[in-house]
């Protein structure tokens, strides 16, 4: 564990720098002076179309870039919170919503909704149901096998269930209308923040807040879920009920993310694990820090996605490209024999 205060300062500075950069960069660059003026004008109710900022800069800042950055931050924070919770729940620092197949389950539910041209609320419910079904299936299979190496069992179960869900996804893609539905599905499976609106971000924010409440209230008790069941129960924890609440909350967070912007992998795995290595496992400390780091990371990734090339790159592509090498380093650090 590194000095926690220094870690905290670095995280806050990184967050502020990332936020300013994300607001400034893009096809319509906004200088920091313009940004400061526009935010000041917005807060005081002054006329934003003054001489201090380029025309339409306020629209870019508050209507286009702002909601998108807020959405990216929320999704990064939510996936990291869900990942941290799942890691405690499965007593395994290397699980995440995507490795456990929760993302695939949510994606299959949502893609099915797109395929059947269902209304958006049904698509989101299907995403939630699919995610919950996937995590329940993996939990159940892991319980039944009770192998000598529970971590290996769990990871292998996740791989198997994810590939099963993958076959379902492949079938829907094969059956989908190649001119209208297929591009929408493909686009959405790689993740994207470009279609986020103020309205969809608002609905997602409300659902994220609702699912965060139980995680926040149970933040300390979630530590005990990392212990063997018997030990946690002997310490006085109602393990079954607590676990159920945490699973539902973390799955809702994942499903809302998937419903908002598609699948963005690796964030929920790498961020909480890295933050845990830095500040320790204590969940009430881990949760807020992992959320800020995950949100910042997602904002940086999304800004890169819309600035490094002529066309937009799907964020799922970048998170995987950045996440896999980090994951390798973390795995080496985790399984390194002590002393």
């Amino acid at each position: 564990m590194v000095n926690r205060f220094i870690v905290f300062i670095i995280i806050v500075v990184a967050f502020v720098v990332a936020l300013v950069w994300a607001l400034a960069a893009g096809q319509f660059p906004i200088s920091t002076t313009e940004m400061a003026y526009l935010i000041f004008a917005k807060m005081t109710g002054a006329d934003p179309a003054g001489a201090h900022a380029a025309a339409n800069a306020d629209v870019v800042l508050f209507e286009i870039r702002g909601p998108r950055i807020v959405a990216a931050f929320m999704v990064g924070a939510a996936l990291s919170a869900a990942g941290a919770a799942y890691q405690n729940l499965f007593r395994n620092p290397l699980v995440s919503p995507d490795i456990l197949g929760v993302s695939s389950g949510a994606a299959l539910g949502a893609v099915l909704g797109i395929f059947l041209s269902l209304p958006i609320i049904v698509i989101q419910s299907l995403a939630f149901g699919g995610g919950l079904a996937a995590v329940a299936l993996i939990f159940f299979i892991g319980r039944q096998i009770r192998g000598r190496d529970p971590i290996l069992t769990l990871v292998l179960t996740g791989v198997v269930v994810a590939s099963l869900l993958g076959s379902g996804l492949a079938l829907v893609k094969y059956l989908a209308d190649p001119y209208n539905q297929l591009p929408a599905i493909t686009y959405w499976l790689l993740g994207s923040f470009s279609s986020v609106t103020r309205q969809s971000a608002g609905v997602a924010a409300a659902l994220f807040a609702i699912s965060l409440v139980p995680l926040f209230l149970l933040r300390w008790r979630i530590n005990l879920l990392a212990l063997p069941d018997d030990e946690a129960r002997a310490l006085g924890l109602d393990v079954k009920r607590t676990r159920l609440i945490v699973i539902v909350a973390a799955t809702l967070m994942t499903a809302v993310s998937v419903a908002l912007c598609g699948i963005v992998g690796w964030v929920g795995l790498v961020v909480p694990h890295a933050v845990r290595l830095l500040v320790g496992a204590e969940f009430s400390r881990l949760l807020p820090l992992a959320m800020v780091v995950g949100g910042t990371f997602m904002v940086v990734v999304d800004t890169l996605c819309r600035t490094i090339a002529q066309i937009e790159i799907p964020p799922g592509v970048l998170t995987a490209a950045i996440g896999t090498p980090i994951f390798m380093v973390l795995m080496a650090a985790t399984f390194k024999p002590k002393n």
Partner: protein, 253 residues
């Protein structure tokens, strides 16, 4: 007070032992001895309300264990499991604070008072200097002491220890036994399992033996453990030898 009445333990497919009746008095230490697989761990899980008994009942403070919630049980009875390595890097003080759970509201993390109690419990076993070290970085003996300190921080009148001396070196085994004596001196009731008759002879007021066939014998340690009973229990010839300071050790022949 923890007591059982004609308790039978085991699983639907296999009964391990039957007709277990005892009551654990304040400040008393009872050792549970028996060969591997005789049901010591199952007995503990049944006493803790983690596993249902097949017949009879377990009572904690007069109430049947099945009628109590996990938190109500934890307030009266603390459990010291065998040391297992976890992947999560909790600090020592955080591990000890976990024992405060039944004292806290469901949404509340431990506060200043809880940290003080946890620190005091660590100090009791000379472990206060390790409070902010990662639990996983401690040696097996140190981890065992931390888990005993955690049981003390629960402020429960009864402590159950599952093979507290397993996996410890010779010196640490006796260190742990001395600490268990300290617990009973404070009026805490202790029930522990062990594979070593010497440990029962050294600190247990009473001893319960569980044979491979599931037969139970319970009484004063010196009456329960003798050459014949140990020979029957473990299936080898045993001789108890008294040392110069009155300590008795069992020698297998």
């Amino acid at each position: 007070m923890l007591s059982t009445h004609h308790l039978a333990i085991g699983y639907s497919t296999r009964r391990l032992a039957a007709d277990i009746s005892f009551s654990l008095q304040p400040g008393e230490a009872i050792a549970v001895l028996g060969p591997n697989g005789c049901g010591k761990s199952t007995l503990f899980r049944t006493l803790l309300g983690l596993h249902p008994g097949l017949q009879g009942e377990v009572r904690l403070g007069g109430t049947r264990i099945n009628d109590l919630s996990a938190a109500e049980i934890a307030l009266n009875m603390a459990y010291v499991p065998q040391v297992t390595s976890g992947f999560f890097n909790f600090s020592v003080i955080e591990v000890v604070e976990m024992a405060r759970m039944p004292h806290l509201a469901w949404y509340a993390p431990p506060g200043v008072l809880d940290r003080q109690i946890a620190t005091d419990a660590l100090a009791e076993f000379g472990m206060a200097k390790f409070a902010y070290r990662p639990f996983n970085a401690l040696s097996g003996g140190e981890q065992q002491l931390v888990l005993i300190a955690r049981a003390l921080a629960a402020e429960a009148p009864i402590i159950l220890l599952d093979e507290p001396t397993a996996n410890l070196d010779f010196g640490n085994q006796f260190l742990i036994l001395d600490e268990i004596i300290k617990l009973t001196a404070r009026g805490i009731s202790v029930l522990f399992t062990t594979h070593n008759p010497d440990h029962a002879l050294r600190i247990a007021h009473r001893t319960m033996t569980i044979s491979r066939e599931g037969n139970i014998d319970c009484g004063l340690t010196k009456e329960i453990l003798n050459n014949a009973s140990l020979a029957a229990l473990y299936g080898l010839k045993v001789q108890l030898i008294e040392g110069p300071n009155g300590l008795i050790t069992a020698v297998g022949r």
